[in-house]
């Protein structure tokens, strides 16, 4: 338990403050001996009330991860996202069936223990297809967020750190990008680059990067104006050192939250794009493509479209929930 010694300090503070509270000892104009005795009595600590507050703060800081772990919603969401990520990397871990394995005898079967998500018109196992679909979707979404974070960080840091005309120019560009809705921007880029996974990833990245740039810039500006940055500068640190040691590490929090949030947004966007038919051509099937194909059987076999749709919704909801929990804990 890290808090024990802190409480010990707090009680010591309490004892020492009575020394400090004595007006003669505490008066700065009193003779040096009295000053030194007060100093010795204090051992560098202040009022006991403050000491207790420190103990509380320490308790809070030490258990930030603990506070997250105590939220059942967060744990569930994190577990689900972990499951989806793992299944995206190694889908065979969770399903023995190949996604393309047809079975003419088992066409359009409803969900059962044998086929969790049912089967499609060719008798393919939908659960397997969804899991294998996550490989494509998660990869594209992850790639998009990665590109967006790198580009957004670069723009935001440049703008926030240098200010002046660099800032004005970059932020005007960002403003213009934000005036075009993300989905439309992505569709424009898909028009130019053609269909498929990589164009979609790039398209989504271009769509969400401006938001990153904005947030990063705001954070860099916030941290830059902190007194400890000026303290580092007057202590002789170069701008490079200030950027690497102070600004970036302290800006990371909100940017990280936004990255998680935008991962969810990227999943939604990529599913929407592939639902509209801009994704990888069949038989490879992203989540959106699966749902789009399933809607032809909506009357007779609604699970074909609705279960993968629900799956996408759950992934996005989990990511949003994680982002929100992180934000709340950071505050």
């Amino acid at each position: 338990m890290p808090d024990k010694p802190v409480f010990a300090t707090a009680t010591r503070d309490r004892a020492s403050t009575t020394v400090a509270a004595d007006p003669v000892a505490a008066s700065p104009l009193a003779c040096a001996a009295a000053v030194i005795s007060a100093e010795v009595g204090l051992i560098g600590s202040d009022a006991a009330g403050e000491g207790a507050a420190v103990a509380r703060r320490r308790l809070a800081a030490g258990t930030r991860t603990g506070r997250l772990a105590r939220r059942p919603g967060f744990v569930l969401a994190a577990l689900f996202v972990a499951f989806v990520t793992l299944s995206a990397l190694v889908p065979s871990l969770f399903t023995a069936r190949a996604p393309s394995e047809t079975s003419p005898t088992e066409k359009l079967r409803g969900p059962s223990t044998a086929h969790l998500f049912g089967t499609d018109e060719l008798g393919r196992d939908m659960f397997s297809r969804v899991l294998h679909g996550s490989t494509l979707t998660i990869k594209a979404a992850g790639g998009a967020v990665l590109i967006a974070v790198i580009a957004g960080l670069a723009i935001g840091v440049l703008a926030g750190f240098f200010g002046g005309w660099v800032d004005s120019l970059l932020m005007r560009v960002v403003d213009v990008m934000l005036a075009i809705p993300i989905l439309l921007m992505a569709m424009t880029i898909v028009t130019a680059l053609g269909f498929g996974l990589l164009p979609m990833a790039i398209a989504v990245a271009v769509g969400i990067a401006p938001g990153f740039a904005r947030t990063t810039r705001a954070e860099v500006l916030r941290v830059r104006s902190q007194a400890y940055v000026e303290a580092a500068r007057t202590g002789g640190a170069s701008w490079g050192r200030v950027l690497l040691r102070h600004v970036l590490p302290n800006s990371w929090g909100p940017v990280g939250v936004l990255a998680v949030l935008d991962f969810g947004a990227a999943v939604l966007l990529i599913s929407s794009l592939s639902f509209l038919g801009f994704g990888t051509p069949p038989p490879a099937a992203e989540w959106g493509t699966l749902i789009s194909a399933g809607r032809n059987y909506l009357i007779t076999s609604p699970w074909l479209a609705l279960l993968p749709g629900l799956f996408v919704g759950l992934v996005v909801f989990s990511l949003n929930h994680i982002a929100r929990s992180l934000e709340e804990v950071q505050r």
């Binding site: 993300i182 989905l183 424009t188 028009t191 038919g277 949003n320």
Partner: protein, 316 residues
């Protein structure tokens, strides 16, 4: 104030021009070959064309000119409301859009009040419902709404209300009955976001020191909410409303695809599928114009509702 207005208007035009330029750059300068793109989209197979025929074809679309000339040319025409010919359909882009726009506007006109009502209603319920379980559910609901993909919501509504209950038609664009499901689908995300923003705004505003002043006067909770909280909490929601309204075309893309409605969204989808560059370009421009215009209005409304903005605008 007039100077402020003029300034904002000039700024809006500048953003519009920049947006047009960005889209032009994406569609014409990116590594993919716009010529092949446009010609193959036009139905021609390049490998079967003689070089002379190819040259002729390029000439027809002005593609032999330097990119800069093409840019100035298309910008000049766009300024006059001429977006050129569609590559996939033998009509002007202008007439295509004029044909599809009413259907989408109709949809938006129904969806917007739904979104407002849903969002504000939910936020108000979350403030005033005292029963804890209901409060928790109300607080969580918007987060769910924001996460659900639009196509999933649309398909679910079709499955339940068209196929199972057979209350409303699943597709088509005739009569108000066919508008209900698409409008609900379209309003859902906006309503959820609005509710989230407003709930948070209410919570934050209730913690403001001037609320203590108001309570110390002896005003009731209801009066404090109505006279002091509402307006201050509404300001951020106004911005969101502007964005949602500006995103009308984008919102309609998936909805019109799900409900097979013949509107601007469907036109966009088909244009992208057919890589019909002039149509895509025009739609993006129209959307950006809508976005910029609505945000201009929101800014003005802001300065009416928030005196601090107004006085800053007056000074600037």
């Amino acid at each position: 104030m007039t100077r402020y207005l003029a300034g904002r208007f000039a700024q809006a035009l500048l953003v519009l021009w920049a947006a047009y330029t960005v889209v032009f750059v994406i569609l014409h300068v990116l590594p993919s070959d716009p010529i092949t793109l446009q010609l193959s989209a036009g139905g021609a197979d390049i490998s079967q064309l003689t070089p002379a025929a190819l040259h002729d074809l390029k000439d027809r679309y002005g593609l032999n000119n330097p990119v800069l000339v093409q840019y100035v040319h298309s910008l000049w025409h766009a300024l006059h409301g001429d977006f050129g010919m569609s590559l996939t359909q033998n009509v002007t882009v202008g007439s295509l859009i004029a044909d599809k726009l009413p259907s989408t506007l109709e949809l938006t006109a129904v969806a917007l009040p739904l979104m407002l009502g849903g969002g504000v209603g939910l936020a108000y319920l979350a403030v005033f419902v005292r029963w804890r379980p209901a409060r928790t559910v109300l607080a969580r609901l918007p987060a769910v709404g924001v996460s659900l993909p639009q196509f999933f919501v649309g398909l679910l509504l079709i499955q339940v209300f068209s196929f199972s209950l057979t209350w409303l038609p699943a597709t088509g664009s005739d009569g108000w009955r066919s508008l209900v499901l698409p409008a609900v689908t379209m309003s859902l995300i906006g309503a959820a976001m609005l509710a989230q923003l407003l709930t948070r705004g209410f919570d934050d505003t209730w913690r403001e020191p001037y609320i203590v002043t108001a309570q110390a006067k002896g005003l009731s909770r209801r009066t404090v909410q109505r006279r002091h909280v509402l307006r201050n909490a509404c300001l951020p929601a106004l911005t969101l409303l502007g964005i949602m309204l500006g995103y009308t075309v984008t919102n309609s893309i998936v909805v019109e695809a799900v409900f097979s409605r013949n509107g601007l969204g469907q036109l966009t989808q088909q244009a992208v599928l057919g890589q019909d560059v002039p149509v895509v370009q025009a739609i993006v421009l129209i959307t950006a114009a809508g976005f910029v215009l609505v945000n201009l209005l929101v800014d003005l409304l802001y300065s009416l509702l928030d005196p601090r903005v107004a006085s800053a605008a007056g000074a600037g």
